[in-house]
């Protein structure tokens, strides 16, 4: 047993998710894409902390926080309040962040996830609480050493939900699966785009290790600012190994806050000397406590969309999909919605729609980096395309070509088939003639086939397809070709007959 296996990692996560509201958490400034907005344009006295300005709670932000809480199986607390978290930093204009402390809106939830190795994990969600995002800082490094920082307050005050798990994860795979699940859930609820490059979703991981079998927790470190799944998994893996190496060398892990250096692929200490935090939390006196009436919780629960797990179960049970296909389709609410829209226009087996969607449309989308929402192939059109295949009007290969055309131009399948003359040829007489011509032109291959080289059959099929520009119905060709080959005798007359038949045509 190597030394890594002698230890068990213990990992908890804090996920900060911006909520997708029209206005900010405590003021009427618009929530914008802060990666593209002009600096300091969506600001007001409230979100820039000007003297005298006061917060006013955004109702929709509370509703969205409740949606997430419910989706994560949390209890929504009837009594909730805001608290001030006091510290100084230039991204925090008031000198405190309005957050929640003793009385968060949602507590005691859980999620079940399956990781990439098919291992199941039950991860408890300790709490989800509302707060406000901070301003954006741009650090400018000057060669002369006169470094400075620029501040853009557009992001400041955007509603933020902090989702805190229990330290229930014991592998990088579990961390990946949990983070994926949270992102998927947020996207399902329509409260967050999951767009990590835009910074609307940010991860932090608390990592400790302990000897397997121990039930005491080791000293933990906190890795901040993990802004991609890659950073999350690499940093967590790195940190687990780093801590094990320290313990193996007889050392002790120092409790500290770490950053992740994506260039060196290593965590680094964010502070030379760790100050004890003293955030001096106290109830926000500018905001009265909030009573969440049962009726409101019910109202929000009623509009909660079907969540991925329920949808997955339904797709397997109602549509007969494989669990794998169902997993892929429900991974994105828009994809699942696309799939079901396509089914409305389709009468065959749902699994063929799944196959075309996952196998073919995804290929095109990935190739061109196009989202399902932006794909020009609309669900009903895809369904009709598959219908043409089912009806024998189009062979599968042509159908792929038609899909490519639909994807590129947004055209309708029938029109493309018509314009390109791609309709399948399945009439025996026409195809028998083509088969005869192919055999006549390739006498040597026919001989080889008859000598027992079976693979020549496929090659001859290919020649027929080629001669029909791919439009021949494969099963018809296969039948005609088999019959034609079987009817040839070994005599030279026979060969001559083939030739003469071919010439006659």
């Amino acid at each position: 047993m190597n030394c890594i296996q002698r230890y068990e990692p213990v990992i908890g996560m804090e996920i900060h998710a911006e909520l997708h509201t029209q206005s900010k958490m405590f003021c009427g400034c618009a929530v914008t894409d802060t990666t593209v907005a002009e600096p300091n344009t969506t600001i007001c006295p409230v979100c820039t902390g000007l003297p005298g300005a006061m917060p006013a709670v955004n109702r929709e932000a509370v509703a969205q926080a409740m949606m997430v809480g419910l989706a994560l199986n949390c209890q929504i607390n009837e009594f909730t309040n805001f608290a001030r978290k006091n510290y100084f930093y230039p991204d925090l204009p008031k000198g405190y962040q309005i957050s929640q402390y003793d009385f968060p809106i949602a507590t005691n939830g859980w999620v079940d996830v399956t990781d990439e190795n098919s291992a199941a994990h039950h991860i408890r969600v300790r709490r989800a609480h509302m707060e406000e995002d901070t301003a954006k800082l741009f650090h400018i490094y000057e060669p002369g050493g006169a470094d400075y920082t620029l501040i853009d307050f557009n992001r400041c005050g955007i509603p933020l939900l902090e989702i805190v798990s229990e330290p229930d994860m014991h592998s990088v795979e579990a961390v990946q699966a949990y983070a994926t699940k949270i992102r998927e859930t947020l996207r399902y609820l329509g409260v967050n785009s999951g767009d990590m490059e835009k910074g609307v979703l940010r991860f932090e991981a608390n990592v400790s290790v302990r000897p397997r079998g121990s039930d005491t927790l080791g000293t933990r470190t906190e890795i901040k600012n993990l802004n991609s799944f890659r950073a999350l998994t690499l940093a967590t893996a790195y940190e687990i190994e780093r801590q094990i190496a320290i313990l193996e060398a007889g050392g002790g892990v120092v409790q500290e806050t770490l950053g992740w250096d994506a260039l060196r692929n290593a965590t680094f200490s964010q502070r030379g000397k760790e100050h004890a935090h003293d955030y001096r939390y106290f109830p926000e006196p500018d905001l009265p406590p909030l009573r969440i009436e049962r009726a409101w919780v019910n109202e929000v629960a009623a509009i909660l969309p079907e969540l991925p797990d329920a949808k997955h179960a339904r797709f397997v049970a109602d549509y007969g999909l494989t669990p794998q296909d169902a997993r892929i389709l429900v991974g994105d609410r828009a994809v699942a919605g696309y799939f079901e829209s396509a089914l409305h226009a389709y009468t065959g087996a749902p699994s063929s729609v799944a196959k075309w969607l996952i196998g073919e449309l995804f290929y095109l989308m990935n190739r061109d980096n196009v989202s399902i929402e932006a794909a020009q192939v609309r669900p009903a059109a895809l369904a009709r395309l598959i219908g043409l295949v089912d009806a024998g009007t189009l062979n599968p290969n042509s159908a792929k070509a038609v899909l490519g055309e639909m994807f590129a131009t947004g055209g309708q399948p029938e029109a493309i088939v018509e314009a390109k003359g791609l309709a399948q040829i399945s009439d025996d007489e026409r195809l028998a003639a083509v088969v005869a011509q192919v055999l006549a032109d390739n006498a040597a291959q026919v001989v080889a086939y008859r000598a027992g080289k079976d693979s020549v059959f496929q090659w001859l099929m290919g020649q027929v397809m080629r001669a029909t520009r791919g439009r021949a119905a494969p099963d018809v060709v296969r039948r005609l070709l088999s019959a034609a080959l079987a009817s040839i005798d070994d005599s030279s007359e026979g060969r001559d007959r083939i030739k003469s038949q071919a010439q006659a045509l």
Partner: protein, 101 residues
Amino acid sequence: MSQRIDSDLVQHIAFLTRLALTEEETALFSEQFSAIIDYFDVLGEVDVSAVAPFTQPQITQAELREDVAHPSMAREDFLANIPQRQGDYVRVSMVLENSRM
């Protein structure tokens, strides 16, 4: 629960609240704070075992702000009071990570 507030504690609190203090101020405040905090210990006389802390009357769903975006303040109005600006940004000298506390 008499509480002496020594110079170290005063210095610590001064740093937490970002107030530079001279040595004389530190000594004076330490003296004054000890007396004031000692006086506050009078609250220890009150039996609060069955008392919930004071809060404002709770508000409910209907009293929360409608999620509607309003025009923001003009950027120049905001930037007019900025001690140091650069272009459309607020500028400060370098932020060191260990200044967050």
